[in-house]
């Protein structure tokens, strides 16, 4: 009952100086709202990156040629001499070895990747510079989580025979044939002057961020080697799908054991590298986590400033109402009731600020910011509420104590 009374007295105090209370509340409101919004932006960015990496394929490891000089110089003293490039080749035989059920039990599927740069597609009057140009086998599509919007993939036979067929991404199709992308199926397009028949159009993955996964042309690997890269025994890279996300690291070890043996290298002078999608994800997540912490810290500082504002106003209030405190003490208010009255007053201010800040945070997070859709995290809402309560308590306790410690005769004499 005494608490209810303190709340009533505190409310009277808050209402006595409406403008001042509103401005103080605003300080907390802005702090809480910015914490929620900025952490939501961080979470939104992080989720967008994860989704984008997920679109690149599930449980994918990429084996690519080592481009640094490490392999050559380390091998220099041994069997490898001069500019011999045998060690830097990734071949179809390497790829076939990876699917060995004994040596590589955790490898589910593989696909060769032959890439070429600066490929331009033409159809009638339309041209399009292709961002990603891949020569591969049909297994590539399932590894990359690709699905068809129309038409069909090419066959394994097409892949090894070098048939002039192409599967194109949504962006490429749109640029070449216009908005009805499925009409591209069956049309003949020119890629750097070479004619290819479009066998299928990939379903849209949606762009989020820097590169557009739909700006892609996929053709049989042998056609890419014949017509674009010139005959070379080496693949650009090998895409490997692990059996599950849990065995990514085992799969990576198996790939390394198989290829180390085949290339006659050790971990010190490897002429290839295996990139693990999980590692990329971890790196990306760490980066966004750092970003989120920075954003949160900035927002936290504004919240701290808001808290100091509460304390400032409470100190002013206590000084202003010294006489009232004296009167209350004279008519029987104990220290405890004075403390609770002022503490509740600062709690009310900061909690109202907190609740309004949460509302403002939700509203602010409804709009895309910095190219990502902020995602409000439940825990930040709880945290904000707790923090605003804590601010009320922490920044209110000193002024409240100051009020309670006033001697009634001094307080009554105060003008």
């Amino acid at each position: 009952m005494m608490i209810a009374e303190s709340v009533r007295f505190a409310l009277t105090g808050v209402m006595a100086n409406k403008m001042r209370s509103i401005l103080t509340t605003l300080g907390i409101l802005i702090g809480i709202a910015s914490v929620i919004i900025l952490l939501a932006v961080g979470a939104g960015t992080s989720n967008a990156i994860k989704a984008q990496i997920g679109k690149l394929g599930t449980n994918v490891l990429t084996v690519s040629r080592q481009t640094t000089a490490g392999g050559r110089s380390a091998g220099g003293g041994q069997t490898v001499t001069g500019p011999r490039s045998r060690g830097t080749n990734l071949t179809l035989q390497d790829m076939a070895a990876l699917t060995d059920p004994v040596m590589g039990p955790d490898v589910a599927a593989t696909a060769p990747v032959v890439t070429a740069q600066n490929v331009t597609g033409t159809y009638q009057d339309a041209t399009h510079a292709v961002a990603t140009f891949v020569g591969t086998t049909p297994s590539y599509f399932s590894i990359s989580n690709d699905t068809l919007a129309a038409g069909s993939y090419f066959s394994d036979g097409d892949a090894s025979n070098g048939t002039a067929v192409a599967v194109i991404g949504n962006t490429v199709a749109q640029d070449l044939v216009g908005n009805s992308v499925t009409s591209a199926v069956g049309q003949t397009i020119a890629l750097n002057g070479q004619n290819f028949v479009v066998s299928g159009v990939l379903a849209q993955k949606g762009s989020s961020g820097l590169n557009d996964p739909d700006d892609i042309v996929v053709i049989p690997y042998s056609a890419a080697q014949d017509k674009f890269t010139g005959y070379s025994p080496s693949l650009s890279s090998i895409s490997v799908q692990a059996k599950s996300a849990d065995v990514m690291n085992q799969a990576q070890n198996e790939i390394q054991m198989i290829l180390d043996a085949r290339h006659n290298v050790t971990s010190a002078n490897r002429d290839y590298q295996v990139r693990n999608q999980a590692q990329i994800l971890t790196t990306a997540t760490t980066t966004t986590a750092t970003l989120t912490i920075l954003l949160g810290a900035v927002a936290g500082i504004s919240l701290l400033v808001g808290g100091i504002g509460v304390m400032n106003i409470m100190l002013v209030t206590v000084t202003e109402r010294t006489r009232e405190i004296g009167i209350r003490k004279a008519i029987g208010a104990s220290r405890g009731s004075i403390v609770s009255q002022f503490l509740i007053e600062s709690l009310i201010i900061s909690l109202i600020g907190g609740v309004l800040g949460i509302a403002a945070g939700y509203i602010g997070s409804a709009f895309p910011l910095l190219g990502t859709q902020p995602e409000v995290q439940w825990w930040t809402v709880w945290l904000s509420f707790m923090v605003s309560a804590a601010i009320g308590l922490i920044f209110g306790i000193y002024p409240a104590n100051k009020a309670a410690k006033l001697r009634p005769i001094d307080a009554l004499r105060y003008e």
Partner: protein, 242 residues
């Protein structure tokens, strides 16, 4: 049974130390009985304000003992002193000391809130006491909407609402015009007639003349203790305060 509401034994109040030592009260002993109406007078600096603070449990004595209604106040902690002020003493100040922006009825019921009385009962008792000081129709007015005399009557109502054993008034007419002063003093007289124990600090002789007993202070000593009228024994016997 000891019938003294106030019992001071060799009470001293010393401010400062050494050279700067000031004895605001110097070994004062006095006993005030239930139902008495005592005026404490003296020039400024005589020690009468210090006396008021000690009697009102707003300040402690440096030496000596003070019994209020049989309780030795020297042994009480701060919380207990707050309770004593709440239940045993009703304060009336020179400048009314009402809480601003708070309705008269809420000002009057405030001591009951600190006494943990239920909200509904608080309001009933506050309205009843406001009625007894003739301000029933002003219950919802804020202090700024009341005249000085009315504000002081609200303050008296607040002092009476807990039914204290002692009504302690510090220059209650000091901030009022003569008409309002008379009304307030008449109110004190009628309260006294109904058996209340009243201690009034004043520096005006005509105000002091309304009391039963006049105690004059000078330099921290009682230099005169004069009884004008006897205590109305019948009123005390039938009085409500316990």
């Amino acid at each position: 049974m000891n019938d003294a509401v106030i019992q001071l034994d060799s009470v001293s109040k010393i401010y400062g130390k050494g050279e700067a030592e000031v004895r605001a009260l110097d070994s004062v002993s006095i006993s005030i009985d239930r139902g008495d109406f005592v005026a404490i007078i003296g020039a400024s600096g005589s020690g009468k304000s210090t006396m008021m603070n000690i009697i009102g449990c707003l300040d402690g004595a440096t030496q000596g003992t003070y019994h209020l209604d049989g309780i030795d106040t020297g042994t009480l902690d701060e919380y207990q002193l707050a309770q004593i002020r709440n239940r045993k003493i009703g304060f009336v100040f020179q400048n009314f000391n009402l809480i601003p922006r708070t309705r008269a009825v809420d000002n009057v019921s405030m001591p009951l809130a600190y006494a943990k009385v239920h909200r509904k009962e608080r309001r009933e008792r506050a309205l009843e006491v406001l009625g007894s000081v003739g301000l029933a129709e002003r219950a919802d007015h804020k202090p700024s909407q009341l005249s000085g005399g009315q504000q002081q009557r609200v303050a008296i109502a607040r002092a009476l609402v807990t039914n204290p054993v002692l009504l302690l008034a510090d220059e209650p007419t000091g901030a009022l015009d003569s008409k309002s002063s008379h009304e307030i003093l008449d109110l004190f007289e009628s309260l006294h007639a109904s058996g209340r124990t009243i201690v009034m600090i004043t520096h005006e002789a005509d105000v002091a003349a309304r009391a039963n007993r006049v105690v004059r202070f000078q330099d921290g000593h009682i230099i005169e203790d004069r009884r004008i009228r006897a205590i109305n024994a019948h009123a005390v016997a039938t009085a409500v305060p316990a």
